[in-house]
C-alpha cells in the first residue's frame, strides 16, 4: 500500500475507511477486503505454511476486525491493528495443531569445547546477500530452510526479524516472557545460520 500522501491525508483516509466499515457500507467493505486480503494472506501463510489454514486465519481475522470496529480507536494505523489480529488468529490455529511446543534444536546450535571455546570452521568465503540473490532459486531455497525450523523458533524469527514486531508484542502474542522470546530468537537465528551455511560458503543451490 505504498502511498504518496502526507501522514495527515493518510490518517484522514484511514478514518474514512474505518467509518464506512462501521456504517456497514457493503461496497466499501468489499474494497476493504480486496485491499487488505493479499498482505493478510501472505502473513498468515508465512506463519502457518498451509494455504487452507492461512485462508481460515484471514477469514477469522476479518470477522474479528468487523466485530471490534467499535473498539478501534485510531491511535495506530488500521493496518497495524489488523496485523496484530492476523498474527493472533494464525497463532491460534497453530496452537490448535499443537505446533508451538518447544522442540529441541540442539543439533543446530553452536558447538564449544570444554573450555568454552567455539568450534567454527574457517570462513574463507562469506557470500553477500547480493551475490546469493543472483541465483534465481535463492528466495525459495531460503524460505524453505526457514520453514525447517521447529515452529516454536520459526514463529519468533518471523515475527521479530521479518515482521519486525517488538519483543514485547511478540511476547504478548505468544504468551511468553520477553526473556524467553529473546532466547528463542537467538536460537532460531543460530539454527538458521547453520542451515544457511552451505549457501553462505558459496555452494550453489
Amino acid at each position: 500500500m505504498a502511498s504518496s500522501f502526507s501522514p495527515d491525508q493518510k490518517k484522514a483516509e484511514d478514518d474514512a475507511e474505518v467509518q464506512s466499515l462501521r456504517d456497514g457500507d457493503l461496497r466499501a467493505t468489499e474494497t476493504f477486503v480486496r485491499n487488505h486480503a493479499p498482505w493478510m494472506l501472505a502473513l498468515a501463510r508465512r506463519i502457518l505454511k498451509d494455504e487452507a489454514q492461512a485462508e481460515d486465519a484471514v477469514q477469522n481475522a476479518f470477522a474479528s476486525v468487523f466485530q471490534n470496529l467499535d473498539s478501534f480507536e485510531g491511535r495506530s494505523a488500521p493496518k497495524t491493528w489488523i496485523h496484530k489480529i492476523v498474527v493472533n488468529q494464525a497463532l491460534m490455529l497453530l496452537r490448535k495443531r499443537n505446533r508451538l511446543q518447544e522442540e529441541p534444536i540442539d543439533d543446530l546450535m553452536p558447538v564449544f569445547d570444554e573450555n568454552g571455546c567455539r568450534f567454527e570452521d574457517p570462513w574463507t568465503v562469506l557470500e553477500t546477500p547480493e551475490t546469493i540473490f543472483q541465483q534465481s532459486q535463492a528466495q525459495k531455497h531460503i524460505s524453505a530452510l526457514i520453514d525447517q525450523l521447529p515452529d516454536a523458533y520459526r514463529v519468533v524469527l518471523i515475527l521479530r526479524d521479518i515482521e519486525e514486531m517488538s519483543t514485547a508484542d511478540v511476547a504478548d502474542a505468544l504468551s511468553l516472557s520477553e526473556a524467553n522470546v529473546k532466547v528463542r530468537l537467538h536460537r532460531a537465528r543460530a539454527a538458521l545460520k547453520r542451515l544457511l551455511e552451505p549457501l553462505l560458503r558459496g555452494d550453489a543451490i
Binding site: 467493505t29 477486503v33 558447538v111 567454527e120 531460503i142 529473546k182 538458521l192 545460520k193
Partner: protein, 101 residues
Amino acid sequence: MSKKPKSMMRRIHGMMFKLPLMITCEQFEDFILAYLEDDLPKRQKMLFEIHLKMCRECREYLEAYRTSIELAKDAFTPDDANLPDEVPEDLVKAVLAARDT
C-alpha cells in the same frame, strides 16, 4: 562441522579467555542478541568487543550470523509491491457473507 583434534591454538585460547577482561566464546554467544540490539551494559559491551577482536571463531561466526538474518529478511520481507492482487474469490465471498448477516 568437524571437531578437529585440540590444537595448540585452541588450548592457548582456552587459557587466555580465563584472564581478566576476557570472556569465553560461550559467554560471548549469550551476549550476541543484546549486543546487536545495543542493549548490553557498558562493561559487558567492552568485554564483548575485546573478545570479538581476539577471537577469529567468534568474529567469523558473528559475521555469518548477521548475514543470515539479512538473508532471511530479504527472502521473506513483506513487500506489498510484490504481492499478488489475486484474492481467492471464495474467501472474499465468505468474508462478505459473514459480514452481511
